[in-house]
């Protein structure tokens, strides 16, 4: 059984968010929702993380940053786009500097809609992301075994 599901470490990145979704992510760590119960730890370090939680849309400034952080995460990894801005660009989609949602630069596995996305949705989404993570882990394992 994969331990990824039991100990998913999270990297939280704010793309160009208004911080609304970020505060909701933070709320998940507080005593009311307490996602550490599930072994989730907010590491600030891509090299330690399994799940990338991105809020906010992608603009010209953070294209390279997001790609860089994603590349530094070890496999298997998943990306969860939190909030409508991360999914599609949200209400800022038409802005001159906004490129769009996160999937314009890196592959996204889970979209968590909302403006701001509520802690319950975020937790729901992360749990779904863990399912995707497990599948990726199995694929990776199979690939390593056959190599």
């Amino acid at each position: 059984m994969s331990f990824l599901k039991k100990s998913p470490w999270v990297l939280h990145y704010d793309g160009s968010s208004c911080n609304g979704c970020d505060i909701e992510v933070l709320a998940c760590l507080t005593p009311v929702y307490d996602i550490e119960r599930f072994g989730i730890v907010n590491t600030g370090n891509p090299k330690h993380a399994d799940v990338l939680l991105i809020t906010g849309s992608i603009n010209e400034q953070n294209i390279d940053v997001v790609k860089n952080l994603y590349s530094q995460m070890p496999d298997p990894k998943v990306v969860a786009a939190i909030g409508i801005c991360a999914a599609t660009g949200g209400i800022f989609r038409e802005c001159y500097n906004v490129k769009g949602g996160v999937d314009t630069v890196i592959p996204v596995d889970i979209y968590i809609p909302g403006c701001a996305a509520r802690p319950e949705s975020i937790i729901d989404g992360v749990v779904a992301a863990l399912g995707v993570l497990e599948k990726k882990a199995e694929a990776l394992h199979a690939m390593k075994a056959s190599a």
Binding site: L4, D34, E36, R37, G39, T43, N45, K47, H48
Partner: protein
């Protein structure tokens, strides 16, 4: 005994880490993870395909683990206490060198701070060993264990000083300068920033070994009665978790100054008085 150390210590250490997280969570009015969480963490890390910034950094961490295990073997087989302290220093040096070889700003500052931490607690550690020698006339752990009078009775100052530096050694606030286990990210992950996957798991396991070793050291102060000793060890660890959750991280200036002053005042005074008592 050696096999027991090599096999059981990491299990105990992991449970201890889990207990730490649960206690911290309860102090913060949270539920906290299950007690086996650290094991899940480590096993997950082993299943990741690790990344690194150069080809050599992971090797240092293997050396770190090897030497921590050797140190434990030394200590738990009743060997020389001073040699144990020095062997632990060797392990620490490898840990620091690994971070240095990564050559990144965060790991570099983490390494410097780790060295400053080591410099801070080293005098008190040696003074503690000296104190135990002065009472039991031997540096060997087996003789100290066999001693019938409570060491802490002769070494109150030394014990208090040792508790002070234990906070540094266990990487608890206010002295968790070089890396933060709890995810408060002053230096991202400081000394462990550029490590991932199985190497990170190795570092974690090495820290478990270290913690058990340190608690073993605390045990020595109460070795005359195993029950009291175990209770004392438990109380000490709970106290350390309490201190961790009560204090904010302080500066390295304060760390060096305070630990040396504490070692000087509490440790040295105790030893001087003791020298006249056990003459």
């Amino acid at each position: 005994m050696v096999v027991a150390w090599v096999v059981i210590a990491p299990l105990l250490g992991g449970l201890l880490a889990g207990f730490d997280r649960i206690l911290t969570a309860r102090m913060q009015s949270r539920m906290g993870p299950p007690i086996l969480q650290p094991f899940y963490d480590v096993l997950k890390l082993f299943s990741k395909r690790g990344v690194a910034v150069n080809n050599f950094q992971n090797f240092y961490m293997l050396c770190f683990l090897s030497f921590v295990i050797v140190t434990g073997i030394l200590f738990f087989s009743g060997g020389d206490l001073l040699l144990t302290i020095f062997a632990l220093a060797v392990a620490g040096v490898f840990f620091v060198l690994g971070a240095y070889s990564a050559n990144s700003p965060y790991s570099n500052i983490g390494a410097e701070r780790e060295l400053i931490q080591m410099m801070s607690y080293e005098p008190m550690l040696i003074l503690a060993a000296m104190g135990m020698f002065m009472v039991t006339k031997s540096f060997h752990v087996r003789d100290i264990m066999a001693h019938t009078t409570p060491l802490v009775y002769y070494l109150p100052g030394v014990f208090l000083g040792f508790l002070f530096i234990l906070t540094i050694k266990l990487r608890k606030s206010p002295f968790d300068l070089s890396t933060s286990h709890h995810g408060h990210q002053e230096l991202v992950k400081g000394i462990t920033t550029e490590f991932s996957g199985s190497t990170l798991a190795v570092i974690e396991i090495a820290h478990w070994y270290e913690n058990i070793l340190l608690l073993g050291f605390v045990y020595l102060f109460f070795a005359f009665n195993p029950v009291i000793a175990i209770l004392a060890v438990a109380a000490t660890y709970i106290l350390e978790v309490l201190i961790d959750n009560t204090y904010a991280r302080l500066t390295w200036h304060f760390t060096v100054k305070s630990s040396w002053i504490v070692a000087g005042v509490l440790g040295v005074t105790n030893l001087i008085v003791l020298a006249f008592v056990v003459k």
